[in-house]
């Protein structure tokens, strides 16, 4: 029983999209990965429309159990932060329109989940993504590898209440799909039958 997770690294120029199947053994397999977006000399409305069409097609093609997107912070002092937030809004609404639960993860959470260190650099994240997914090299460009890392992070965390955008604000399992519930139950059962500590 695998949980199919779409990971999204939002952006106007390069929006990374990945699909990863995560088994309850934590084995993770890359199903597909791509980058959508437009050059910065395109008008803002055309750029956001390209993101919208890209995520719609991706979700309809892969029908994931969950979507994980990078949490964007307003104190990030980068000129691209507003465009990134606008793209993430479109991605989240596209998932919600399809009843797909949405989770937000910070870059630090993602780095810690895949490398063990919240301060890992891009190259280290890419290397670990390749290793986890049993690939010869990290997905290119870095936005694609980051999207895969987000999907792995979410798949491994399951439905951690604190990171959920879906369901009630306090979290809980109300926003889970049947596949997610089954997976959470399987994980609980595995814990119960595992070796005593």
């Amino acid at each position: 029983m695998a949980l199919r997770v779409v990971g999204v690294d939002p952006g106007l120029t390069r929006c990374g999209l990945a699909v990863v199947d995560v088994e309850n053994t934590r084995r993770a397999t890359l199903v597909d990965v791509t980058v959508v977006g437009t050059s910065s000399d395109t008008s803002l409305d055309e750029r956001l429309l390209a993101i919208s069409r890209g995520i719609d097609a991706w979700l309809d093609q892969h029908r994931p159990d969950a979507l994980a997107v990078e949490r964007v912070f307003s104190h990030t002092n980068v000129s691209t932060v507003m465009g990134t937030a606008q793209a993430s809004g479109i991605v989240i609404a596209a998932a919600a329109a399809r009843g797909i639960p949405v989770a937000l993860h910070t870059p630090t959470e993602v780095k810690a989940a895949v490398t063990g260190s919240g301060r890992a650099d891009k190259a280290a994240v890419g290397r670990m993504v390749a290793k986890i997914l049993r690939l010869e090299a990290p997905p290119k460009p870095a936005d694609a590898a980051d999207a895969a890392a987000l999907a792995i992070t979410h798949g491994w965390r399951g439905a951690a209440p604190g990171s959920q955008a879906s369901g009630t604000k306090a979290g809980g399992s109300s926003g889970l799909t049947p596949a997610q519930r089954a997976w959470a139950q399987a994980e609980t059962a595995a814990r119960k039958t595992g070796p005593r500590r």
Copy 2:
């Protein structure tokens, strides 16, 4: 020949939506105004979906010639700025999907256009919106009045290149609808035949 403009004051809790018909005499008439949004105890994905459905229905009902949305700044030090940016991204993509040209206006531009002062307070903007639209009182809440002010500002400015999100980045008239082109031509003709200065 009136230009039908939808003005949007984006936000997750209260997203103001207004429809204003602006004639080339500058006479502006309020067609409809509403506020969509959800309370802050709703999950982010449900909130963004509510905005998405609200703007989709509004655009399909009113079929405007243009959409004007408030430009959101990343240096705005408010906890709601990221949600506002996410909502604005959804609104801009909804217009782009329908081929409706999008313009961004700053709060200062809007205040200056309707009151003559870029430093006007909310109450002054509301009073002038009521006066311009020949209403007994400003639309309530303030988000609705701000949306109407955005629509008036854009209708009066026409297709000012610097404020366009549509078309090429440098602006120009390539993103105009037939009605907008006719209106721009009428305005140019009115200038040519007007009194010499």
